[in-house]
């Protein structure tokens, strides 16, 4: 692991926010931390960039000048234009005139904000604001890019565009860590950490997580819940059998990533 968290514990007062969580973040890879609200995703990323001090564990991160970070909030100055936001970041990271010209133009083009360069940050749509925030974080070509829920509340087209930006950054060698509540986004990652109540329920590549879904998974129809370990997927019920033996009348199905996340959560609950 080049960057990331290793067995990190974080406590806020009496509340345990992270309990021995490991999140590897390697160059040219996208690590997605997925989990529900309050799972500890943002805390993970804040520890990674140095905003939260862990109680125990090891944190590996590059120096400040080589980190790009987008917080869960807008992450841009609403009273500055798109160009001025980029200029501020270029000044902060002391980019040369040539670098800022080249990277600035490239980022505007990649984010599709070239036309909006003179618009105030506050006048941009939610999706454009997030693209600008990611663009600002990428401007200085960071070694580690950390994005806290970059696609939350963003329309599907903008989400796809944001993921294109993220994937391209990874393809160019940047180590990327992304927190998200959208389970389907985890499938885009090189590696995934499933978080629930400050604990890592599962981690690995999306394929490995799917392969390692414990027990058996089935599908059933009907008005009533077939077993206590069942949940709705569209018009069907998904039924999970930890022992590997599904009840009668339940058809076996291959789990997708959403199923894997729910199973991991149920398995975690039963362990607790």
């Amino acid at each position: 692991m080049r960057w990331g968290l290793d067995a990190v514990h974080v406590r806020f007062g009496q509340r345990v926010a992270l309990a021995g969580v490991t999140v590897p973040v390697d160059p040219a890879r996208v690590t997605v931390v997925v989990g529900g609200d309050g799972a500890g995703k943002s805390t993970c990323l804040k520890v990674l960039v140095g905003l939260v001090q862990p109680e125990a564990g090891v944190v590996r991160r590059p120096s400040k000048g080589r980190i790009g970070f987008v917080p869960a909030t807008a992450g841009i100055y609403v009273d500055l234009t798109v160009e001025e936001n980029l200029e501020f970041s270029a000044d902060a990271y002391r980019l040369s005139a040539a670098e800022r010209r080249e990277r600035g133009g490239e980022i505007l083009e990649r984010t599709g904000l070239a036309e909006a360069r003179k618009r105030l940050g506050g006048q941009l749509s939610g999706g454009m604001q997030r693209k600008l925030a990611v663009g600002i974080a990428l401007l200085h070509s960071p070694a580690l890019l950390v994005l806290d829920e970059p696609t939350t509340g963003v329309d599907p087209v903008s989400r796809a565009e944001l993921w294109r930006l993220i994937s391209r950054a990874a393809a160019e060698g940047t180590a990327v860590a992304v927190a998200t509540t959208y389970v389907n986004e985890a499938a885009r990652a090189t590696s995934v950490v499933l978080l629930e109540a400050g604990e890592a329920l599962a981690s690995g590549s999306p394929d490995a997580i799917l392969r390692n879904v414990p027990g058996a998974l089935g599908a059933a129809r009907g008005a009533s819940r077939p077993t206590p370990l069942s949940w709705r997927r569209g018009i069907e019920w998904r039924v999970w059998a930890p022992t590997g033996v599904l009840p009668g009348g339940v058809e076996t199905v291959d789990p997708d990533f959403e199923d894997a996340v729910v199973v991991a959560a149920l398995a975690g609950e039963s362990r607790r």
């Binding site: 514990h9 140095g50 939260v52 001090q53 120096s63 992450g75 902060a92």
Partner: protein, 360 residues
């Protein structure tokens, strides 16, 4: 409507600082300002010089507070004592003649001194020649209020603008979420603070020049002293004022809290700095508060330089206090802000390729 009332009460209950300010602050302010709000001058620092100094000094009583008696000195010393702010009244006691010099920039003290003196030494043809006193009011002979107020008001206006505006600086970043981003950028705490203050310092300096020029043109306030001395005092004062705003901003969670705290800092300066009520008239406990306020010292410098041409050698005291206040306020702001900006660097200075390790 009740739904709104209940909601507001619930929100208010959770903002304990606001509740504390709403309940405790009015009482504290009333008591403090009540003790401060006094035009009655009980003490007038007085120096007595000249051959008859000892005899005259022994005959002076309250409110004259004789701070120095020098029989060997003459009128030049008396004038320099007033100019340098060491006394408000200087009596030159020559044989058979009394010359009473008064510092016209101390309006209430001068009015009180004149009243008391008139009772002690009636003037006019009926008065005995050896009990006649010649009174000269220096610097503001007509006791023009605007001459005395404008140098102080310039400071007060800057306290309002400077402290209130900068008090929103950091808290706005906190609320917008950009503070976290700043924290991850390669900035040091002092760089952010300096960067926040510098633009306002320049605007406030331009503001000050404008206010002084308007005061001179519209109210005919003289500027008799050294511009560089005034500029030095103003720069230090602005640093403290803006630094206070930033300090407030670093300890506030939202803009409402910042505004409340800023008012708590600004309001005492209106009443306790000597701008309206003489500091010497205030209760001893309240005087201590006034000695902690930057405007108290700026008023001493601005009135001294503008109206009395007080030289820098006589202003090292207030200049030194302002410099000390600037160091303390900005130091506190940087220290407090460092906690927001780099919680991890408190323990370990992180270096690339050497992971931050916390014992498990």
């Amino acid at each position: 409507m009740w739904a709104m009332v209940a909601k507001e009460f619930r929100e208010l209950r959770r903002d304990r600082r606001t509740v504390a300010m709403m309940i405790a602050l009015p009482v504290v302010m009333l008591v403090v300002f009540g003790y401060a709000a006094s035009f009655n001058v009980h003490s007038i620092p007085t120096v007595v010089v000249g051959p008859g100094a000892r005899q005259v000094a022994s005959s002076l009583h309250s409110p004259f507070d004789v701070v120095d008696v020098d029989p060997t000195a003459g009128p030049p010393t008396a004038r320099s004592r007033l100019r340098d702010g060491q006394a408000v009244v200087a009596v030159v006691a020559s044989w058979g003649r009394l010359l009473v010099l008064m510092d016209g920039t101390q309006l209430f003290s001068v009015e009180t001194a004149e009243d008391v003196l008139a009772k002690m030494m009636p003037s006019g043809p009926a008065a005995s020649p050896n009990r006649r006193a010649e009174v000269q009011i220096l610097y503001d002979p007509k006791l023009t209020t605007s001459w005395v107020m404008v140098p102080g008001l310039a400071g007060l206006i800057l306290v309002f603008i400077g402290t209130l505006i900068t008090s929103l600086g950091v808290v706005r970043e906190r609320q917008a979420g950009t503070l976290e981003q700043l924290a991850v950028m390669p900035f040091r705490a002092w760089e952010v603070i300096a960067g926040k203050i510098a633009p306002y310092l320049m605007v406030a300096a331009a503001d000050l020049v404008l206010i002084v020029v308007v005061g001179m043109v519209v109210f005919h306030v003289p500027f008799r002293g050294n511009v560089a001395t005034f500029a030095l005092g103003a720069a230090l004062f602005l640093l403290v004022t803006l630094g206070m705003g930033v300090l407030i901003s670093t300890v506030s969670q939202n803009q409402g809290q910042a505004i409340q705290l800023a008012f708590m800092v600004v309001l005492p300066q209106v009443l306790l700095s000597g701008l309206i009520f003489p500091v010497t008239s205030m209760a001893a406990g309240v005087q201590w508060i006034s000695f902690l306020l930057p405007l108290t010292y700026f008023i001493e410098i601005s009135r001294g330089v503008m109206l009395k041409a007080t030289p820098i050698s006589a202003l090292w005291g207030p200049l030194g206090v302002l410099a000390l206040l600037a160091v303390v306020v900005l130091g506190l702001a940087v220290t407090r802000f460092r906690r927001d900006l780099a919680p991890s660097s408190r323990r370990t200075e992180l270096r690339e390729s050497s992971p931050e390790s916390v014992a498990s």
